[in-house]
Each structure stands twice: as C-alpha cells, then as structure tokens.
Amino acid sequence: MKKILGITFGGLQKKAVILVVIVMLLSAAMFVAVTAYQNNTLVKVVAETRTEQQKAISESSDATMRKVVENSLVSSTALQANLADNDFAEIIGWTRTLQTMAQGVLENKGSLSQIPVGLPDPALDGVSSAYVLCEEGVDPSRSEYLGYIAHLSTPMIAMHGNSDKIDSCYIGLCDGTDLCVDEKSAGKLDESGRPIPFPVRERPWYVGAMERGDLYFTGITVDAFTHELLITCAAPVTADGEAVGVVGIDVILDGVSDFIANSAEGNKAYVVNDRGEVILGPDKGGVFEINVQSEAADLRESGNAELASFVRKALEEPTGLVTVTIRGKAYYMVGTPMPTVGWAVLNVVDKERTEQAEKLLLAEYDRINDEASESFRRETAKTNRFGIILLFGAFVIGLAGALFAVNRMVKPIRQMTESIVECGRSGKPFEMQDRFRTNDEIEVLAESFDDLFRKIERYIRDITDITAEKERISTELSLATRIQADMLPNIFPAFPDRDEFDIYATMDPAKEVGGDFYDFFLIDDDHLGVVIADVSGKGIPAALFMMGSKILVQNYAMTGLSPARVLEKVNDQICANNREQMFVTVWLGILELSTGKLTCANAGHEYPVLKTPGGRFELYRDKHGFVIGGMENMRYAEYEITLAPGAKLFLYTDGVPEATDTEGALFGTERMLEALNAGSDDPPMEILRKVRAGVDGFVGEAEQFDDLTMVCLAYLGKGGA
C-alpha cells in the first residue's frame, strides 16, 4: 500500500475510492446525457415551434390580408363603379338630350328658319362659344341642316357651361359640317386665321355612332386639334328616317374619375369599356396601358387566360376578389360592372404589398426567435460550462471527501489490524483504545476483539491453572501409587529367613491407584496370613476404601481371630459407616506353617486355585460368603485345606479372568489355568510372570480395564523343599 500525503492508498481505501469514482462518473455521465438530451429537445422544439408559428402567422396573415383587401377592395370598387357610372350616365344624359334636341329641330325644320353660324372666333377663346367646322372643301352655307341645327347653339353653350365634364359638344352633319361648342375656338384656326379643316365624317365618334345607329362611346381617341386623349359619347341624329348627323360630347377624363388618377402605386383603378379596352387608368405601359382605340388591346382576349376571364366576368357582374398572376407576379383584382355604360371598374392590388405586413411580422418574429435561440444557445453553453465546472468541482471535492472519509473509516481498522498483528507477535493482549471508539461496526469489532483477547487470556490462565492442578494431582497420584504400592509387602523374597514357604505377589492398577490389594503377614511364628481383595470400582475412591479395608483385615487377623470372624468383624466395621455403599471382596487364609493347614474364608471373591504336589493347578470351588460392606451382620463360613509340601496356592482378582481382548472376549479361568500349568513347578515369581505374559498376549492392544492382582504361595513344608 502506497502512502501519499498521509493517506494510505490500497486495500479497503482503494476499493472505496474506486466505488466513489464510479458512482461520480456515472452521475456525471447521466448529467451530461440528460443535459444534452434536454438541449437537443429544446432546440428541436424551438425549431418546430418556429416553423409552425411561421406557418400559422403566414396562413392567418394571408387569410386576414386577403379578407381585408377583399372587403375594402370590393366595396371601394363597387363605389367607384357606381361613381364612374354616374359620371358617364350624366354624359349619356347630356348626349341623349342633345340628340333629342337635334332631332326635334330637324323634324320641325319646316317651322324654323335657318340661321347662320359663325366661324371660330379667336376672341372668344376661353369662353363657351358656338362655331362651325367643315371638312375640306365643304361650304357650310350650303348645308341643308346646319341653319336649323344652329338654333341649338344657345342650349349647347348652356349645356357646356353647366357641366364640368363636357370638354366640348358638337353636332356633326352628313354634309361634312359640324356645329361645335367649346372654349378652344382659337385652336380651330391656323396661323393665318383660316379655319382648319375638320374631317367630320371620318372621326371615330361619327363613324361609330353611325355604324351602331345608337349611342356610342368611342375608345380613347386623339383630339383632332389639341391632340389630347379623350372619349367621346356620340349618338346619331335622324331626319325623316335617315341618319343625317351625329351629336357628340367630348368627356374631360380628368373630371370623370378622380379616383383613377388618384389611385396610387399598389392599388390602382382602371375603367375598361365594353370592348375590353382600358380607357382610364394610371399606367403608362403594361397590360393596363391606355391606348388609342385603334391600338388598344382587348383584355377579354388577353393571352393571360386568368386576366381575360377576370375582365370578361367584370364586365358582366361583380367579381369579388380574384387573384391574377401577371408576368409571374400575383395581384388581387376586383371588378365591378358599370351598368349604365356596360363598362367595368377594375381595382388591382399588388399582392406583394399586402403581404408586406406579414413579411415584416415574420421577419420580426424570426428576429425575436433568432435572438431567443441565440440567447438560449449562449445560456445553454454557459450552463454547460458551469455544469462541467460544477461537476469537476464536485468530483474533486467528492474524491477528496471520499478519501478523507474512507481514510477515517479505514484508519481505525488498519490501526486495529496492526494492533492485533502486534499482539499476535508480542503475545500481549489486544486492548480497547479510544481511537477505536467510532460508534460503528469498527467499535463493535474492536470490543469483540478486546473481549476475545480477554477470554483467551482467561482461558490460557484457566488452562495453565488446570494444567498445574492436573500436574499437582498427577504428582500426588504417582505419590499415592507409590504409597499404595508401599503399603503392600513388595520386597521379595519377603521372608528370607523362612524356608517353609515362598510367596510372591504383584498388583498392577488399571489407573494410578487401584482398588485391588493383596497382603501377607506373619500373625505369629507359625501362622501366615494371606489376603487378596478387590474393592468395587477403581481409582482414588477404591484406593482409599482399599487402604481402610487392608488395615482392618490385617488388624483383626493379627488379633488371632479365625478368618471367618475376621471377615465378619471387618464387614460390620465397614458397614457401620459406608454411605457410599462401597464393598470389597476378600479372600483370607491363615496358614499354619508347621502343619500346612490352611484355614480360609471367602467374602465374595474369586475361587482360589490350588495345586497339589505333582498335580495341576485347579480351581478350588470353596464356600462363598457375601461381599464385605454390602450387608451388615453377615456370617461367613470357614473351610480348611491341608497343603502338602510342594503344594501351591494361586490367588487373583477378577482382572485376570476378565481381562478382555480387542474383540471383547474374556481371558477366562481356563486360559488362566493353562498359563498356570504351563510352568506349574516354577517358583511363584516365575508363575506370576507367565500368567501375566499370558494375559498380555491375550489382551494385545486392548486397554486394561481392571486392576490386575495376583498372589502365589508355595508351601514347602517343615525344613523346606
């Protein structure tokens, strides 16, 4: 583990830091993803909204503008048509009046006198005056009708004076004369003051009215004298069923339709006559250019089908708003017929102009949108920068915090680990320290370690104590073993100065101390007491009980009592105070050394084994009494055996026949007798060694359960063998 700035890297620390880094990176990635998504979505929404709004504005604006244009244009066109129609109706009225008057004069010429008409008088220029104009070579004085028509001079001057729309009024006659009333008499004379010839019957109005035979409006014509453009309203005059002339009124176009002259760029008004010719309009050039009749185009037959159709319709009925495209440019057009004259007023609006408001609105909207978008982009960029800085800051702070926190967390663990490792090395116990008191699992862990080490310490102390105690007990037991062994006669030969008998005995306790015992002692010079006994149970309780029993048996035997009496006394003595209900089997024999008479008593012990001289060892099934310590007041029977010199007595405890091999089989008395008879003539010590060898060979590896005690007495008789 590396150590940087006092912070250790690696181990838990590394893992925790990695975890923190991963969590932070994930959150950063999430933040970036969410931000990017939001930005994208917003940008998209803004763009979509923009398109939609533009479309909506465009559509609504288009519809609205169209509506507005339609409303205003339709009504104004109707109004204009009405006005223009009125104007021309007035002209027609005058024309009809003039026609009626002329016919009236000619029909009544019989009752009228001819009056002369003067030539144009330049002095009267500027005021209304009547004068005659003639075709080249025509003499007005010869005219058949002029003298009568001249009566109309005064009404014509009045008519001319009354109407501001009449430029001039005249009556052209079929004889090439013409009665004219206007304010431009000077213009009718040449430089020398002679009247300029006037081709009456060639003028369009004359020709038109004559051809039609009824009221006739010329198209745009050029004035014969002033060369100004004008329109003439004419009507034929008949006399006696024959057309003899035409009345005409020149219309001052300026006065007819101010609205047309005033129509401005963007909204222009035109008047189209019944021949589809534009007769009034502001244009110079273009489709709606005004031309003299001979050159004027018939719009009804225009190559532009939309326009032709529109004009045709306008001459018949109000068209409503119609969109017509002329040379790639869209126009709103409205046409309304002028019923009196059979013409139509057209209003034409450049559609682009009506859309200017919408365009301005869209442009403004775009500008606002662009500004907003730009502002949004700027702000977003700023936010992103700030977010990244914030993220980075959070990352650094988080990392530092994690390092610090984890270090704080890990430090006690590391210290504890070091402490525990140190404890393991030095053997000193781990101790709770304040630095481990972290109020969390570490504290619990430290406390557990503290507790564990205390317990181990206590356990070690206990083990030490127990071991010491065990050692002490072991020492005491081995001491007890020696004491117990020393309590029994164990120095052989036991009676080196006696040659009447040989005795040998062994005791091998299953544990350190046993419950078996043997004993032999000289009661007097001629009597040898021999005891073998087996206390119930083993170990220390049996050993203690055995010690008491041994002393009691010897003590009573030494008083000279017979074996049975000895056992009875001992039994009573033991039963008097035997709460543990221990008992002991005892075989006691007293041998009279001089005679070989053996007096015996058996308190529940194994049968003795006897060998007569020259014979074999055999079980002696004696009379038994109950074990000592079992019941009070027991009576024991005695029996006598006479040992011949050379006879042998073998005594044993149940450890011998009940020695068990690994299979659980008992050694048994048969094998015991075999072992005895294998060397029946051997001295006692050798016999016991052989039996022991037999038992060991049989038992093998099996554990010795019971104490193993044997006594062998060889009676040799007086004087020894």
Binding site: S536, H605, H624, F626, E658
Partner: protein, 98 residues
C-alpha cells in the same frame, strides 16, 4: 451400553444391554437415580447384559437396597457369565434372581 425402561404404574422393567463395568456403571446409577422415583417393583431384564464388574455390582446392590425399602427388585434372564459373578460374590444370596 443401552438402558431402556418400560414403566407400568408403580412397577417397571429395565433392560440393560451391554457391559456393566467401571466405565458404564456411573451412567446406570445416574439413570436409576433419575427414573425409579415412585416405582415400587423393579425388574431388571439381564438377557442382554454381557458382563458385570464389581462397580456394576455396587450399583445393583444400591438399587436392591433402595427397592427393598418400598417393594422389591428382581433380576430376570440372567446369563451364565453374569450369574457366575453373582455366585462368586454371593450376590446371588442377596439379590432376587429368577
């Protein structure tokens, strides 16, 4: 060693299976102390009893004395080997062996 007891009112039959020696006798003694309270007549079935050592004899004697004060204790189905032990030690004179 296995010990089983079938109780029938104030009498009971105890079956001892195995050896009754120094190692197992304390267990038998403990079992008797805990289970023969309130029993007047106790039968010890020795059919499966393979061996009795002096320690086992002590426990049997103890039980015999205790049962004698209330009702009695008898041993049944005693095997030859076990009986020999009883004979040698003369427990056969004290215990009720059937």
């Amino acid at each position: 060693m296995n010990i089983e007891m079938i109780r029938n009112g104030r009498s009971a039959v105890i079956t001892v299976d195995g050896r009754l020696d120094t190692m197992t006798s304390p267990e038998f003694e403990k079992y008797l102390n805990e289970n023969i309270e309130g029993i007047d007549e106790l039968t010890v079935d020795c059919e499966k009893l393979k061996y009795v050592s002096s320690a086992g004899l002590r426990v049997l004697l103890s039980a015999h004395k205790r049962m004698s004060a209330v009702g009695g204790m008898k041993l049944v189905n005693v095997s030859e080997i076990v009986n020999e032990v009883f004979e040698i030690t003369r427990f056969s004179d004290i215990l009720n062996i059937e």
